[in-house]
Amino acid sequence: METKEHKLDACESCAFYNAAQLKKLGVNVENADYIIALAGNPNTGKSTVFNALTGLRQHTGNWAGKTVTRAEGGFSYNDKHYKIIDLPGTYSLLSTSDDEEVARNFILFGRPDVTVIVADASRLERNLNLVLQVLEITNKAVLCLNLMDEARRHDIQIDERTLAKDLGIPVVATSARSGEGIAELTQTIAQVASGEITCKPHKIKNLSLKVNDAVEQLSKKLVSAYPDLPNPRWVAMRLLDGDQRIIHALKEGELTV
């Protein structure tokens, strides 16, 4: 008897045991404790990850731009309720297409508790462009390295630990289509949301001295004017780019908490 009980304890103390408790909530996301945004390049399987997390069945398909409406869902994990928003897929947050605007505005103004960036493991370099931009906006992010099965099929290996260290955020390898890694993803989201894991996100490095200097000067000014501004460097870069929407937001005080 004793050994059996002991075994159970060991099992329950294991963090992943909780994944089994994952209660799928469907769209009933009233009174959410945390808001989670799902960002990523088109056709990286965001909607599949969304479905795997929420138990919903958003239609998925193998073509870019499938998600045309912003889908919302939720799940609960360890007595906490999470509301999750599937953003349209974008390659960048720097230009001004409607999709990019929706995604950027949500991360910027919606202030999600965690931003999950879904990346195609078989096309890492291209996907990192968006990851690096998101990391300039938010401090709380998780990289979901999806389509690992595809990467394996194309004989691509990725050193997830080094990647996590370089990006300064947790990296979870998944194949959402078969459910691989979803339990770990859920747990990591919860840990970042609760502050158990703190992120030190990578900031864009390879700027020329002159440009970097301008960014630094401007962000210093921003910090002294708005001590609460969560992403002064990014706002500085947008101002230097002459982004009218951000100038407007700054004037209206939309950017500070």
Binding site: W63, N129, H154, H202, K221, M237, G253
Partner: protein, 476 residues
């Protein structure tokens, strides 16, 4: 915000503008370069790749074939044909099984039950012969083809074929002044036009999006496939020996689908030269990697999601339509039913365009949903021509066990090969169903464009049927 803060903000914005002069106007490019080089340096540290050429060999080869100038179009036609053939052939058996169950076992049982309870004749007729019959027919005829067509289509979609279709058709779309991504919304329309209209959101330019919305109706939708299949089997399949009739009717249906594509191009071209003039916008089309679809999961989700949802919609629309049909067939003015009055009124015009009053009335009654046109036609024909050997009475929607019985009824109603061909064309070229019209309004927020999308196809349909009929009568 207080005055102080406002001043501070203005100061920062001014400072930013002055810095912008120093940095130069290529800040955007410099930032993008920095991001790219960061991404590249991180990737080089964490990624190990095998022989790239070898690992993408399959994808590259497949793309070479599927998007080649020579084979791209024939392969598209072939794939569409195989899917349709499987749908047409495969749907026969489950359809007749459902038919037996719903109409030969459950219907008589309900009838005897209502007799035992002593329901008044009009209530019994209204509920069982009107509402129940309409619903049963829609389930028996629509469920099997949908349950085959949707999963097959979804498998193709998950595999990554649809963007290749868009790639192949891109040049043609450009020539007509439309957007290449319209190929994607067009193929979504083969499932359901309302879904196709929603999918046009992937097109950024409002002008090209409107073209895609207005012309989506030319994609033969799921509600219309069964009509096409039935009429093709009766009037065109019957022209050849029975061994070939399946193949020939499949080809006929495919031709109609391609006629639809042709009309889509034609009307896109017309629109972009008249009401919707403008530049063609450029876009990048992502050719996603091929991914082996997860077979059973795809089958399951497309069955549960698409099939059941579309079927449910059909039932919701069929029930009241069944009731209306029963009512107009059983309410008499001067000893003649409302339906017969309407048919006699519409007949001269119907004959002029190679159809007849029955078909036109059926389309009026079936505005809510395309899928109930054929049962409406059959019911009205029986009621109007007083054929007593079939059916259970006036205003009873029914499905016959065999195609040949249907054929007998239609021929008694004065149908010819010409009527069949025109019905197939008219079923392709007429106003969208009410759900699609409503969706178009929701998406465009414009009565004008909703009306254009509604009336353009029906005007085209009337003109085409009229021309074909006049030519036919000259030649034959």
């Amino acid at each position: 915000m207080n005055k102080d803060k406002q001043d501070q903000t203005e100061e920062i914005i001014d400072f930013a503008s002055s810095l912008r002069w120093k940095v130069g106007d290529d800040f955007h490019d410099k930032l993008t370069e920095a991001i790219y080089s960061d991404a590249a340096s991180i990737t080089s540290r964490v990624e190990t790749k095998g022989d790239e050429e070898k690992s993408y060999y399959f994808d590259t080869m497949l793309d070479k074939v599927l998007t080649s100038r020579k084979f791209g179009f024939p392969i598209m036609a072939l794939i569409l044909s195989v899917i349709l053939w499987l749908t047409i052939q495969g749907a026969n058996y489950p359809s007749s099984m459902l038919n037996t169950l719903l109409l030969e076992i459950i219907y008589p049982f309900l009838k005897s039950l209502s007799l035992a309870v002593g329901l008044p004749w009009w209530l019994d007729g209204f509920i069982l012969d009107g509402v129940y019959m309409a619903v049963a027919w829609v389930i028996a005829v629509m469920l099997p083809p949908m349950a085959i067509f949707f999963p097959l289509f979804t498998l193709l979609e998950d595999f990554g074929y649809l963007p290749r279709v868009a790639f192949n058709l891109d040049g043609l779309f450009k020539k007509t002044g439309a957007h290449g991504k319209q190929a994607l919304t067009m193929s979504m329309g083969w499932g359901c036009n309302a879904a196709g209209v929603v999918a046009t959101r992937i097109i950024d330019s409002p002008r090209e999006r409107l073209i895609a919305i207005i012309t989506n109706n030319f994609s033969l939708c799921n509600g219309r496939w069964p009509t096409q299949i039935l009429i093709a089997t009766i009037f065109i399949g019957a022209l050849v020996p029975s061994a070939f009739s399946g193949t020939v009717s499949t080809l006929a249906v495919i031709s109609i689908a391609f006629v639809g594509i042709a009309f889509m191009f034609l009307s896109s071209w017309l629109l972009s030269r008249t009401m919707l003039k403008g530049e063609v916008s450029t876009f990048t089309l992502e050719l996603p990697p091929y991914r082996p679809p997860r077979f059973w999961k795809t089958i399951y989700t497309s069955l549960i999601d698409r099939t059941i949802i579309v079927l449910w919609r059909a039932i919701v629309f069929a029930a009241p339509a069944g009731a209306v049909i029963w009512l107009i067939s059983n309410i008499n003015i001067a000893d003649v039913s409302l339906a017969s009055h309407a048919i006699d009124f519409l007949d001269p015009f119907g004959i002029l365009i190679g159809l007849n009053g029955v078909i036109l009335l059926a389309y009026v009654v079936a505005i809510p949903a395309n899928e109930i046109v054929i049962p409406t036609v059959l019911m009205l024909t029986v009621a109007h021509f007083g054929i007593s050997e079939f059916g259970a009475g006036d205003g009873v929607m029914f499905e016959l066990d065999s195609v040949s019985e249907t054929e007998n009824i239609l021929k008694t109603g004065g149908w010819t090969l010409l009527t069949g061909i025109n019905l197939m064309l008219f079923s392709l070229l007429h106003n969208p169903c009410s759900t699609t019209i409503f969706t178009i309004y929701k998406e465009t927020k414009s009565l004008k464009w909703t009306s254009v999308a509604t009336f353009l196809p029906i005007v085209l349909g009337l003109v085409v049927c009229f021309l074909i009929t006049q030519c036919w009568r000259l030649v034959m």
